[in-house]
Symmetry: D2
């Protein structure tokens, strides 16, 4: 159960509410985000909901029986829109495009990418400065130096930055240089990291785990929300299955279902979703049809020479075509017969 | 290696070829289909391909190192089009729509479905008369009586029939009443059935196994082709994964990859691919973007009362909208920026 | 619900029972096996079970709510023992060992294998004469000629034969030469084949499908039982997962669970369960600890030269050691502290 | 390639080595652990290994082509033994038993568990004080207070403590109260945490990820080793598959394979491996046969009332029987015919 509180609820009123809930043996969690105050209640005893609804300081009460609560569409029927500032919004009719290299590599590479994005009207650039790698002997990213350089160049060009944060300690130092914190697949259930990201007022894009369920993804998002941050995007990036004809199995079913279960925007990552360059555009377009609010993909001026993920990275020509097609596909989707 | 033979190759020439191949220790399989004669050769020794190419009666030679040969795009670069007669073709620019109930249930149901399809310009009707069911106590279909009734009604209305064949013995009796034989997911590696379907001149739609790989699907198609029947369509219908938020995981990656690896048409089955009615249209449209040559879906006048699969079956209103959207999506795909 | 009938139930009594069940709208299936007569009833209405139990000709009534009925332990609490004749029994304290090559290849190979088995006290020999192969160009077995030759040699040595049957038409011709019909993983849901094997009085070992669930395996066994044949063994042979460090993932959990859910003997196939020769003994021994009633494994006088599956086939030395260890392990299991 | 250095290698000698490696364009990582100094080299150019082997200060050189190096058996053929002090060793003939509740709950519970372990000769107690939970509203553990209490009670009884660490910041505060740091399945690829655990001199038990591959597990262990800590144990705890008849699929194949690929001890976790109490003993015993160096399982004085994982937790009676059986099984394994 979610109890939405009035902004001006008094301490007395809150105490009365908590007492009432304690009486019926409900476990409560108080949540205070940038947009609202809530009490999340978990319990089993039946009671008359009006006995709470008529208390002072209460805005609304919602029964949500799912394991996740605040990220559920059951209480917040209208979709959430994540505002990045400067007129850039994601969700509810605003289709998001994010592109860039797997790893930030050099000033030249950053400039070239920004140039490509600006030309094609893409306003968010992706790129890793902290890279999770299976092997300790692989390139692990340029770190803060890379991020600061990138930031200075992107800022100038009006380009927003999305990049992966891997540990709690990095949040503070990265904060000023990042527009969207990305949580990678391997950290999708790193609950301490999620807690910490709930405590900052900056959008977070949360990737589904390598073999995470739809429900686990939503519960992970609940960690962020319940720690105070409502600005969350979910990201489908393919799951691990028995099939080895490609890298991951893009789960478009999950996109459709996430859009129904949650009010949060859903971003598709076709680059990881199939992992083979020449198929990325098809998977990207399919994701739009499945209901994605945006697409994030990998692009590099010379993919063959990329430090990482070159095999799934588009070159500029391919990227330019894909961007046009995605914009048209989004418009096509708007015009579907209902 | 595939050796295409001239139609008029003489016995002498063929013997000479086989002798030559025996000399270099290649294992050969002679294949005679409705469209051509081939010799499939498997071996390891290196040899001068010209020593065979200059023999009489040989049309062409192709190196195909995949486990599958005749269904590969490596030797037959242009896509295969399956001709159903009466101007109805599938593949290479002809987008196929097939719809109908999970099971054929009654005369009234058949008539109603045909009426719905005719109104919406769909020319192939699906429906099961032999149903593979996990439990022996479930409804297993109306059998030949149902098929004959269906045939008489469909014929009249100019509607083609696709239905599942479950065992070799059924092929002959069903032959005259069927336009496309469907091989179900559970029989995707029933090699005797595939052999037997290779011996008839009737299109076959082969579904991917519950957890079949892309390569296994192509090898199963190779069974049909190498036994004499080139009129094959492949069908992606979702795979089995750990995720339980839906019935199967629609594998759109496989659609994109099958279109590259094989010259055969690929049909998407979004009804089984997600298994939840309200998401079927999104998955269907996504499949078109991934490159499908057609879509097969389940429709019923009152899905709630269907004998089987009601939860994933569209009603007429939903079906009508989907058909329009699919046709538009196919046109949209044709106009993508390359 | 399972209603066990008295052997001497009269037509009148049976009709009365069926009428009663029809009145409460239960769907019934009559089952007649080599050991008993049953009526399987599926329905939802509540009724007083005594109103049926007091009818004439009824031996017992069991509520079984699982999707499978006759193979469930809920009605038949004591384990089933499959009798192969000549004092050879499988299940309930009789540990079964079956070994032999993947494929029957030659007279010399058969003789050598029989010799090896006799020396080691193994009384059932496995071997394929009809081989399901992913590719149509692979060796598909010696067929009936091979089986007849094998039979004549095995009979003489007192060795029983287990071999795979792939299609209904083969059952009759194989019948006299086979002691246990094996249903392979790819045919685990070939329901027509299961129906037909239910109509013969010969033991059947049913393998779990490549990605079959425990419940599906039991439902497939139910097909055989409900068509008249109670002499069934279940076989765990590894499932398909994302892991590629080995061929299949041996599912010992399934062995433990099958032993609880069903009264049928469970045989472990460690050769396919891991697919790598040097690990087969460990997996075999683990399966015994998980509760298997027997082990079937692949052995060949020169595995490197086997026509198929050589990489997972033991040589005689390895096989001899494994057999000794398995017998000891079985004894060790009997002595576990409860 | 792994280059083992002499303990007394001079700066000059090391520089000469590095120069040499730079010349042949090998990327190097210097590793200094509690037991040895190594240089890990990754490169492609061929060269004469003697040109390095004859340099001063070099103990040995090993070609290891796997993605993981230091944890591979290819260079360190004899198994690693992890010494916990006070005569307690794990690996190479010393079979490890670890047991305890899912979560540390109270003083009474700790005392009762210690009592049970002491009676049964188990010297390592498991228990969580920081609990990773899918939902933010679940019990997340007693934290440092619980750990300190536990430590004081365990110390007195001569019981060692294994408990999960979830984030880098916790390592230092937990260090004095822990004998083995456990890395949970969800953190199996939390590379920053692994890095940090490489920097302490305390044994680490690393669990395989929910859908981690054998290779990924070894690469994660490589993170710890290459950051300086050789005292690592690997833990198989079941993987995520399509099967829902139990919680996870215990992968005994992985145990057998890990023992071949790595010199590190392998611990089996049957409680998570199947997730159903009454099957835990069978899976535990199977794991021993597959080659495990130890077993960790969940036990609680009243499992029905456990704060978490009660459904897979043994009671004392079951635990006592299992411990006896495991000890016997380990002895039985030692006596297998080779």
């Amino acid at each position: 159960m979610i109890i939405q509180l009035e902004k001006g609820i008094s301490v007395d009123q809150l105490n009365k509410l908590k007492e009432k809930l304690a009486n019926i043996q409900y476990k409560t969690t108080e949540v205070k985000t940038q947009y609202g105050d809530y009490v999340i209640c978990v319990g089993k005893n039946e009671f008359d909901i009006r006995s709470i609804g008529t208390l002072g300081g209460i805005k609304d009460i919602h029964q949500v029986s799912d394991a996740y609560k605040l990220v559920s569409k059951k209480w917040k029927v209208e979709d959430t829109q994540v505002d990045l500032g400067e007129g850039l919004k994601i969700g509810t009719g605003e289709f998001a495009l994010m592109a860039g290299p797997c790893s930030i590599e050099s000033e030249e590479q950053i400039k070239s990418t920004i140039d490509h994005l600006v030309k094609n009207g893409v306003r968010v650039m992706r790129g890793g400065v902290y890279k999770p790698r299976s092997s300790p002997y692989s390139f692990r990213g340029l770190g803060m130096d890379g991020l600061k350089l990138w930031y200075s160049l992107a800022k100038e060009a009006g380009i927003k930055i999305i990049t992966e944060v891997m540990m709690t300690e990095q949040i503070e130092q990265m904060f000023d240089y990042v527009d969207i914190f990305q949580v990678g697949a391997r950290n999708s259930q790193n609950f301490n990291l999620l807690d910490a990201l709930g405590e900052v007022d900056k959008p977070v894009m949360l990737k589904r785990g390598m073999s995470g369920t739809v429900e686990e993804l939503l519960q992970s998002a609940e960690y962020i929300f319940s720690h105070g941050n409502e600005r969350i995007m979910l990201c489908e990036r393919g799951i691990r299955t028995y099939e080895k004809a490609y890298r991951n199995t893009m789960d478009i079913n999950a996109i459709a279902i996430l859009k129904e279960k949650s009010h949060l925007p859903v971003i598709a990552d076709p680059s990881h979703g199939i992992g083979v360059r020449r198929f990325v555009p098809k998977v990207a377009l399919a994701s739009v049809m499945a209901g994605a609010d945006g697409v994030i993909f990998e692009v590099h001026h010379t993919p063959e020479k990329a430090f990482s993920d070159g095999q799934q990275t588009l070159n500029y020509r391919e990227s330019t075509a894909l961007i046009k097609n995605l914009k048209n596909a989004f418009r096509f989707r708007e015009e579907l017969v209902q």
